[in-house]
Each structure stands twice: as C-alpha cells, then as structure tokens.
C-alpha cells in the first residue's frame, strides 16, 4: 500500500531578490513498511523534502499525499492533528522538552490525543521497555546521554503508533557506535511494528543499512534504489 506519494513537488525559497530551488519536480512513492534513507550532500533538499512530507511546510508547487489524502491543502490545525496521529518526528538535536522527565516526554503525544492516564502509563512503560530505557523514566533530558536522548525521541515518535516516522539526521550528533545502535533500534521498530521510516542522512552507516536508498542532488532525485 502506498503511504506517501509526491507529485511534482517543488519548493522554492525566495527573499525577494534571490530564489533558491530546494526541491524540483520530485515524484516519489513510498510503500508502507519501507525503511527509506534519503541521502545527499548538504543543500540537496533532504530536510526540505522531509518537512514537506511531514506537513511542517507547504510546497511552492506540487502535491503530497499521505495515505491517499492531499496534505498540501490542509489547514494548520488539520496538519497538527495529522502529525499527532500519523507521523512521528525524530530530530537531529533530539529536541526533548527539558522540563519534562523521560516518561513525560514520551507521554506528551498521548496526552494531546486525549488517552486516559492509566492507558498512557501502560503504553509509555511498554515503549520504554522496548527501547531499553525504562530505567531512565524519571530522569530529565539533561541528565542522560545524547544516545539515550535520541532513544527517548524515538520512543516519543512511536508512542502514538504512527504510520510513518520521519528522521532528520538522527545520528549526526552521536558517535558511530551509538549511531549504529540507534539505526538498529529503528530497523527493529520497522520490522517488528511495521512502521515506515524515512531517514535523511549522509552518515555512511545509516546509508549502508537502508532498505531503499534515495539520493538527492540539487533538489532532484538522482537515484532511487530498493535494497531489501
């Protein structure tokens, strides 16, 4: 089943004088359960593509369909609802809420979904166990390592059982060993939970483990290869 489809996706940034084409006519189809790595040099349009797919930004032209629905026409609150229910985000700098504990950070999306407290606690413990970070539950983000914070970010992203997880350079701030372990965790989530991953990265060990590798250059797809 197609989960993401883009049609002639184009994004042009303009400051009134200079125009920068970040994406040009990108046509892409991603199936459910795929483990996609989008690679390319800096400025190739990886993050822009991810932002368009995640409904964080609007394209200049073209369409993005998530599970068949055109998200480019949605209003801000509809997009927020969509992100809450269907999309999980993992950022380069983890971006946990510093005043909340690990378990509260993971719980937050469930609160926004209006899930009852007891059910929330059960789901949080389950996900923390799955990611092997249950002993960190009551720690604040600044009390744990970068690798642990990124695991928490993954836990926060998968807690709502989204259809798709978008990760932007998730290993950029981690050493290669921790980064490798993190990619393994994501592959595990992909295989066990059937969650679709789209990961932007230029980290060789991430690219090496891609299920499908899309290479971008100058805002266009240079290569699209299915590996497993």
């Amino acid at each position: 089943m197609t989960i993401i489809k883009t049609e002639n996706l184009t994004k042009i940034y303009s400051d009134g004088k200079v125009e920068v084409v970040a994406l040009r006519d990108v046509n892409l189809e991603i199936m459910q359960g795929e483990f996609v790595v989008v690679a390319g040099p800096s400025g190739s349009g990886k993050t822009t593509l991810l932002n368009q797919i995640g409904g964080l930004d609007k394209p200049t032209e073209g369409r993005v369909y998530l599970e068949g629905k055109d998200i480019t026409q949605m209003k801000k609150d509809e997009l927020a609802e969509l992100r809450l229910r269907k999309i999980g985000f993992i950022f380069q700098t983890y971006n946990l809420i510093p005043v909340l504990t690990v378990s509260e950070n993971v719980e937050l999306p469930l609160v926004l979904l209006g899930i009852p407290e007891r059910q929330r606690k059960e789901q949080v413990m389950e996900v923390l166990n799955l990611l092997d970070i249950s002993e960190l539950a009551n720690k604040k983000p600044n009390e744990i390592s970068g690798g642990q914070q990124q695991r928490v970010a993954i836990a926060r992203a998968i807690i709502t059982r989204p259809s798709i997880i978008l990760a932007d350079e998730p290993t950029a701030h981690l050493d290669s060993k921790t980064g490798g372990m993190l990619i393994d965790v994501m592959i595990k989530m992909n295989r066990e939970k059937g969650i679709t991953f789209i990961i932007c990265s230029h980290d060789p060990q991430v690219i090496q483990k891609a299920g499908r590798l899309i290479r971008l250059r100058d805002g266009m797809i240079e290569d699209d290869k299915k590996i497993w």
Partner: protein, 403 residues
C-alpha cells in the same frame, strides 16, 4: 499535563519569575491596605456624620430641607410618632427643634445652630452625651451645652452664662440667658464650631413654638434597610412631610463615596497596568527563549490552542500565586491594623475637617476582597495574550531551526 508543563516552565528562570511575582505580591498587599483604609475612612466619616447629628432618618414638614426656618415646624407630631411606633424596624427616635441664632458671651459672639433636644432620648440617637470633655451632659431647663471650640471662641468656661438670640416663629427677636453646664468635642471639627444644645422645652419657649417640633431623628435597627423604612414612612405620612435618609441629608457623603470608587479604580488600574507590562515582558522573553521548543511541540502535533493555553496558564499561575502571597502579606498587616487602627496624626486637622477622627480602622468588604483577588490574575491573562499570540504564529519549520 498542560498545567504540569506550565508550572515547570515558570520555574525555569526562577529569578525572573520571582521578580515579577514580587511586583504582584507588593501590588496586592498595597492595594488591600489602601482600599481597606479608604473604606474604613469612608465608613468612619459616614458613621460619624450619622452619630454626631444626622441619624439614619429625619422627618420634617415638607419643604424644611430647602427652607430651614422655624415656620416649617411639624404640623402634627402625634401623627408622626404614631407612624414611627408602627414600624418595627425603627429602634430609637427623638424630637428636635433646630434654628439659627446668635450666641453672646461677655467677651464675644458667634453665629450658632441651636439644637433643642430631648436629652434622655437624644442619648440613643447621637454620641454627644458621650463626647463631654468637661462639665456634664444636658439635663435641665436653662442649661446649654457648647463645643470646646465654640467655648474657646466665646471665651467661656463651664458655669459661665451666655445669651442666645433668635428670631421666633412670628419673626420677632427673642433672647434668653443660659448657663454653660458642659463642653463637648466630637470627631468633626466643622460641626463643633457651630452647634449648641439646649433642652427642647427651652427651644420651644424661646421660639414661641407652643410644644411644636421641627425634626424627628430616627435610628433604625439595620442601616441596610433605611430606604425601605423611608418608603414605609412616606406612605404612612403622606405629602405633608419629608422623610430624608442620611444620604439625602448629607449628599456630600454620596459624593465622597463616588469619589472613593473612582479613585480606587484608578489605583487598581495603575497597579494592574504596571503588573501587566511586567507580565508582557517576562512572557515575551520566555516565548523567545523557547521558540525551538514550540516548533517541536507543533511538530509532534500540539495544536495552536494548546500552545496558547500553555502560555496563558503559565502567566495565570504567576498571577494567582502572586495574589495569594500578596493577600497573605496584606492580611498580615490588615488584621492587626483593623484592631489597633492606623494613627494618621499628621493629617489630624484635615481628617477632623472631614469628620473621620485621627485613628482610621481599615475595613475589608467583599467587594474589596473580590477586586483585589481578581485584578492581578486578570491582568496576568491580559498581559499574556500578546506573547501567546506570538507563540502560535511561529512556523514549526522556522521554529525548529531557531537556536
């Protein structure tokens, strides 16, 4: 969770939160004290006006209010007495004869308001019997009670003789000799300057009123129902009589009360606006410091209304917490002061002119409590609107990139 998040957020920068909270605490405490002191002053002024002379309700012949001449005596005092007796809510009443005249001593003379009273009954109407500074209270015919101020002006002492000169009911000049039996001093210096008391019988005699009275002064059981009792009396007495409450008799009291309300609103406005700007300042700083975080919250699906609610909650907590501590501080001062009173000795002269007395007892009303409790939380919400709007206008993509 929004509350938990808001609560923890406000303590991220403790010093900043405490500084703005201190401004709320001090504002609330000061407003509580200024307001209760003002109410106390108004209440004392009103009570003194009522207790020194006015009483709760006065009954005259129609037209006396505008033409205070002896000719406007009450045509049928028995009818008035009967009407008073029929109304249960009236506690005490006393008859009076009032006129203007001259008082002469061997050394000086002065214009004076001569109040003929029933000494025994007047004790329950006014505080004059308790305000005797020298000599004794009025008992018998031929006696006169002067204020310390008037006695000083006339250069007389207790036991000295004075002559009253009035225009009687027929318009003839009438004079009578009186012996000063006592001197009084009320909290109202202006009142003291011109009022002298004699017995009602003497007043009737000197004015040739033949047993007629000019005024009935009434004290009711509950001051709150004074207008209701006035209506009852008007129904019973008909058009020939005027029934006046203390507010009708002394309209300046109402003006003072109106002035108080206007002043107090200005106080609340000034303090409220100051706190509001403080809140705008710290909440804006707080929003700008957390731009990236708002981007993340938006990215994970938090809707704008929840982000708006988060900022408003943070500000509201600061407002409520500041108000609670401010009230506690205010009460720490108010409770002992409401018992001991505040000695405003350095304003004694002007306070005596207003008739309040130099010791002011602060009075807390439900209105003050409500106003002082709600102003700062309300202004905190107002102050948070702009920062909250700023936060919801952030674009997630831009916000996440923010350093």
């Amino acid at each position: 969770m929004i509350f938990k998040l808001a609560w923890r957020n406000i303590w991220r920068n403790k010093r900043r939160t405490i500084v703005v909270m201190l401004s709320i605490i001090v504002s609330v405490a000061v407003l509580l004290l200024v307001d209760t002191l003002s109410v106390g002053m108004m209440k004392q002024m009103l009570d003194n006006q009522i207790n020194i002379h006015i009483s709760h309700i006065q009954i005259h012949k129609k037209g006396f209010k505008d033409d205070k001449t002896v000719k406007n005596y009450i045509p049928d005092d028995l009818k008035v007495e009967k009407a008073i007796m029929e109304i249960e809510e009236i506690k005490f009443y006393s008859k009076r004869v009032i006129t203007y005249g001259m008082i002469n001593s061997a050394y000086n003379s002065s214009a004076v308001i001569i109040v003929g009273i029933q000494p025994d009954k007047e004790k329950f109407i006014t505080i004059i019997s308790n305000s005797i500074s020298r000599g004794k209270y009025l008992e018998n015919k031929g006696e006169i009670l002067l204020s310390e101020k008037l006695a000083q002006k006339l250069n007389v002492e207790v036991g000295d003789k004075v002559v009253l000169m009035v225009s009687d009911v027929d318009g003839n000049i009438s004079t009578e000799l009186f012996r000063v039996v006592g001197l009084y001093e009320s909290p109202h210096s202006e009142f003291d300057k011109i009022n002298a008391y004699i017995t009602i019988e003497d007043a009737q005699k000197i004015l040739k009123l033949d047993g007629k009275v000019i005024e009935f002064a009434l004290i009711v059981k509950d001051q709150k129902y004074v207008n209701h009792i006035k209506e009852k009396l008007e129904q019973k007495l008909g058009d020939l009589y005027e029934v006046l409450t203390y507010a009708d008799v002394a309209p300046f009291i109402r003006i003072m009360l109106d002035m108080y309300y206007q002043m107090i609103w200005i106080y609340y406005f000034i303090f409220g606006v100051a706190v509001c700007f403080g809140i705008v300042n710290i909440m804006l700083m707080s929003v700008f410091e957390r731009v990236r975080e708002f981007g993340v919250l938006k990215a994970i699906g938090m809707k704008n209304k929840n982000i708006f609610l988060l900022i408003m909650t943070e500000s509201f907590i600061i407002g409520v917490l500041g108000t609670i501590i401010g009230l506690a501080l205010g009460f720490a001062f108010y409770i002992p002061l409401s018992k001991s009173g505040v000695d405003l000795g350095f304003f004694a002269k002007s306070l005596a002119w207003f008739g309040t007395g130099r010791i002011i007892y602060p009075v807390l009303t439900n209105f003050t409590l409500a106003l002082v409790s709600l102003t700062m939380p309300f202004m905190s919400l107002i102050g948070a609107i702009y920062p909250a709007v700023k936060s919801i206008k952030l674009e997630p993509v831009e916000a996440i990139k923010h350093i």
